[in-house]
Each structure stands twice: as structure tokens, then as C-alpha cells.
């Protein structure tokens, strides 16, 4: 690709698309395994929203790239080091409290991001964000309700909710890491500008839930550069194996 701006825009769309795709893959693992039937439906809904966002964003990344790659080429035929999602999205679900902590952190971030993007000058990104912001508002609400219930439910649920919030916390600094690309690309949102409001919203929920605000000093990073956790290779192997076993086939 010769146009550096197109290159940036494609990479930026890929980052957001990969976040949504990998989040959807994990969310979907709950279907038929949730604590109650209503939750199978709710998490199914959330996963479908995330997958829908992923498809639009990957399609756009492929179009802007101009090399003829489809959403499926990008999802199924890239290797681990080429995926640009946040590590938070790829982490195993853990127990229900850990999944809910992950969703609270991620959906609150996505909500702030999409709110900014929907007013942006890139029509496609603004369109995707405009639709997604409504979906993600529901994800935030769903996660919030559960953090409150679990945090202020029983002793066991309080302990688990706290453990979930703590376990996911070291993966949150990466959400707000700025780099040259987001500073250079006019239509991108610099995620570092979202951090303060994110902290305010997340802390409000944690405080109300009677849990403690997590305090881990160590923070992981690397997802945006294609450096992932050990879990990620297995997720990708499962996601890609049928498509890769039949290269060139249509489904």
C-alpha cells in the first residue's frame, strides 16, 4: 500500500475490529453455559453486537487497504502476531464475575470511544460508531447491574467480584495507550483522552458495588503491536481451523 494515510486508517479500523471480534469470540463461549437462561440470551445478544461491529470494521479495514481482503480473509487468514486487539479482549472468561469485570472495563471504554467516533469526519467509522454506541450502552448497563448485584450480594459473590475486578485491572492501561498512529490519523480518537472519564465511570460502579478499587501497579501491554498472551494462540486456532482447512472454499 502506497498511501500512508490509507495505511493508517486501515490499521486503525483493524485495531477496533479485532477488539470487537475477539471480545465476541469470548462472549459467545458463555452461550449454553450461563448461570441462568436469561443470561444465555443476554450474553448471546452482547456477543452478536460485538460480532456485528467487528464485521463492519474489518470490512472497512479491507476496503481501505485496497488489497481485496474481505472480513473473512482478515479474520481467518492472519496469524497471531498480525492481530491488533487489546489483550483484555482475549483473556479467558474465568468465572462469571471475571467475565462481568472484563465487560465493564471493555464496554465502558468502547462506549466512550464510539461516542467520540460517531461525531467524526470519517463517514463509515461515524456510521459504525453511531449504531454501536447504542448497543454498547446496553452492555455497560448489563455489566453495571451485575457488578452491583455480585458486589453487594453474598459474601462469596463479593469475594469473586473483587477478584474479577482485580484480575482484569492490569490489562486496562493498554486501553488508553496513545501512539504515533492515533496522533497522526485525523479521524482517529486518541484513547488517552478517554481515560479520565473512563476511570470516573468505572470507579463509580465499583464504589457503589461495595468493592474496592483495584490497585495493581503492573500493567500489561503489547496487543496493538501484535504481542498477545499465551491464551490467544488457542483462541485463534479454534476460530480459524475450519476455514484454513479448506482454503479458497466458500461457506
Amino acid at each position: 500500500m502506497s498511501d500512508p494515510r490509507a495505511n493508517d486508517l486501515s490499521t486503525y479500523s483493524l485495531r477496533l475490529g479485532d477488539d470487537a471480534l475477539i471480545a465476541a469470540q469470548r462472549t459467545a463461549e458463555w452461550i449454553a453455559a450461563a448461570p441462568q437462561l436469561e443470561e444465555d440470551v443476554a450474553l448471546g445478544n452482547i456477543g452478536l453486537d460485538q460480532l456485528g461491529q467487528a464485521r463492519s470494521l474489518l470490512q472497512y479495514a479491507g476496503t481501505v487497504e485496497g488489497a481485496g481482503r474481505s472480513e473473512d480473509d482478515l479474520a481467518y487468514f492472519r496469524d497471531e502476531r498480525e492481530f491488533l486487539n487489546l489483550q483484555l479482549c482475549e483473556l479467558p472468561n474465568g468465572d462469571f464475575a471475571q467475565t462481568i469485570a472484563k465487560l465493564l472495563y471493555f464496554a465502558t471504554y468502547q462506549h466512550l470511544l464510539y461516542e467520540e467516533l460517531r461525531g467524526g469526519t470519517d463517514e463509515t467509522l461515524a456510521g459504525v460508531a453511531g449504531k454501536a454506541v447504542k448497543e454498547v450502552a446496553y452492555h455497560v448497563d448489563h455489566a453495571t447491574q451485575w457488578v452491583l448485584r455480585l458486589g453487594d450480594g453474598t459474601d462469596e459473590s463479593h469475594r469473586r467480584m473483587q477478584a474479577g475486578l482485580d484480575a482484569m485491572w492490569p490489562y486496562t492501561a493498554e486501553l488508553f495507550a496513545s501512539d504515533e498512529l492515533v496522533q497522526r490519523l485525523d479521524v482517529a480518537v486518541d484513547p488517552s483522552t478517554l481515560e479520565e472519564e473512563w476511570l470516573r465511570r468505572v470507579n463509580q460502579v465499583i464504589d457503589e458495588s461495595t468493592c474496592e478499587r483495584p490497585t495493581s501497579a503492573y500493567q500489561h501491554s503489547g496487543g496493538r503491536d501484535g504481542r498477545h498472551t499465551e491464551h490467544f494462540g488457542y483462541l485463534l486456532a479454534e476460530l480459524q481451523h475450519v476455514a484454513r482447512s479448506h482454503p479458497g472454499a466458500s461457506w
Binding site: 453455559a33 448461570p35 437462561l37 443470561e39 445478544n45 460480532l51 479458497g248 472454499a249
Partner: protein, 313 residues
Amino acid sequence: MLGVMDSFQATIDADGRIEPRDAMPEGYRKTLIRQIAQHAHSEIIGMQPEGNWISRAPSLRRKAILMAKVQDEAGHGLYLYAAAETLGVDRADLLDLLHAGKQKYSSIFNYPTLTWADIGAIGWLVDGAAIVNQVPLCRCSYGPYARAMVRVCKEESFHQRQGFEILHTLCNGTPAQKEMAQDALNRWWWPSLMMFGPPDASSTHSEQSMAWGIKRHSNDELRQRFVDMTVPQADVLGIRVPDDELTYDEATGRYSFTQPDFAELYEVVKGNGPCNQERLAHRVKAHEDGAWVREAAAAYAEKQAKKMQGSAA
């Protein structure tokens, strides 16, 4: 003056609807609870063989469709448990009976989904058979069940089409894809025929259910309808129904076909199918793993209710 049971019978005879507050014979109520619960259990156990392929669906479009489908099944489970609750039972108790092996679910879900084509075959054959079974239930004498079935059947017909479409794509794809489709048909054909239950001569619940307007057609009649509907679709796909005796009778416009091995059906119903243990164990594990979450939700709701009372006082 007419007795309450006379009014029940008069409603049945007039092909009317029995509603939750109407008097009904205990046998009618029990039969409906058993049938609706079994149906609800089938929806939620049925999420497993298909859910098994969500993570591996070979395109993002197929993944989205499959997620929506499995989610629909959870929704069907919800309506059906709600319909059963109108008869004075509790969803939690029905789930306990399922988990204890005291209530059944459709035996078809004890067969494994081994390749992507199985997702097509389940939609086409299993949902196809379910539609043949369930469309008459939209006219079932019990109102809440009949109304739930109207909604369920609409979604099932979408499921059936998406299954056919998966196989259609495979059958028009690479030789390996077409072989995958044929293999799926070979494995799912006989269990699908078993979905209509035992032959009429040995069906234990059928006669009374017909008299009560719960069941409208016999097992054998429904099985015949399914074969008549499905064989021409296999021809369109260009794959072969694995029955050497299958012949078309020009005079009646119906197919003559080999009956499935009902001894296998009885074994699977008894718990001796390929995935009986796994399906139930998975369900029980999800339920047990989720116990602390349900307890927390209940405890939280109670605390909130107390706070509301406190602030109202």
C-alpha cells in the same frame, strides 16, 4: 347444571382453547406439564450440539447466524418454561427434574456434531422435523402452549432455511465440502426419523393426547409428511438419502421408506446414546457453576427491597 369437567369436555369437543384458570382433568394437566417441560428441556439441551460450532464457524456471517439461532433456542426455552408455569409448576423445579434425569428431552440432541456440515443438517433435518411436529401444536387445545408454538414455529422455519442454505453452499462447493454434506446426511437421517417417536402401534401417550386435542396427528403420519417434504429437497441439494428402499409412489404422491431402528431410539431414550452423559453433565455443571450467581442476585434483590421498605416507612 353442567359439572366443571363437562365444560372442559365441551370446550375440547368444540375445538376451543383451555386457559390456565379453566378447570381441567389432572391427567390433562400432568400430560401437558410433561410435554411442555420436555419441549423446553429440548430447546436448552439442543443449544449444546450447535453451540459446539459457534467458535469454529467458518465465516463471520455464519458465526453470527449460528449465534442468533442458538440464542433463539434459549428464548424458546424461556417461553416454554413460562407456558409450563401457567400449569402451576416452577421452572427451577422442572430444571431439577431434568438434571436428575427424571424428565426427558428430545433424543436427537444425544448425537454428536462432528463437522460444520452437521450444523447444516441439524437446521435442515432436525428443525425440519421439529416444524412438522410443532405446526399442529399451534392448534393445541391448551392456549398458552399453542400461542408459544406460533412464535417458536416462525423462528424454526428461519432455522430450517439457514440449515438448508449451509448445505446448499457445501453441495455447490469443493468436493471435500460436498462429501462433508453427504456424510452429515448419512449420520442425521435415521435419528431425524426417530424424532417422531415410536410407531403408532407402540406409542404409549398418543391416544389420550389425541382425544384431548394436545396431539393432532399420529407419529407415523408426521414421519411420512417429513419424508415426503425432505426427499425432494435432498434431490435439489444433490445428495442421497441413505435408504436403499426409498421409492416414490406415483399414485399416492408419497414415498415409501425404511423405518428407523427403533431399538436404537429406545436405547438413546434410556440414556445409552453417544452424548447422553455429556449433554446432561454439561447442563448440570452450568447450573451448579451458576448457583452462587443466582444466590447473589436473590440476596441483592432482597437487600434492595428492604432498603425500599426502609425509605418508604
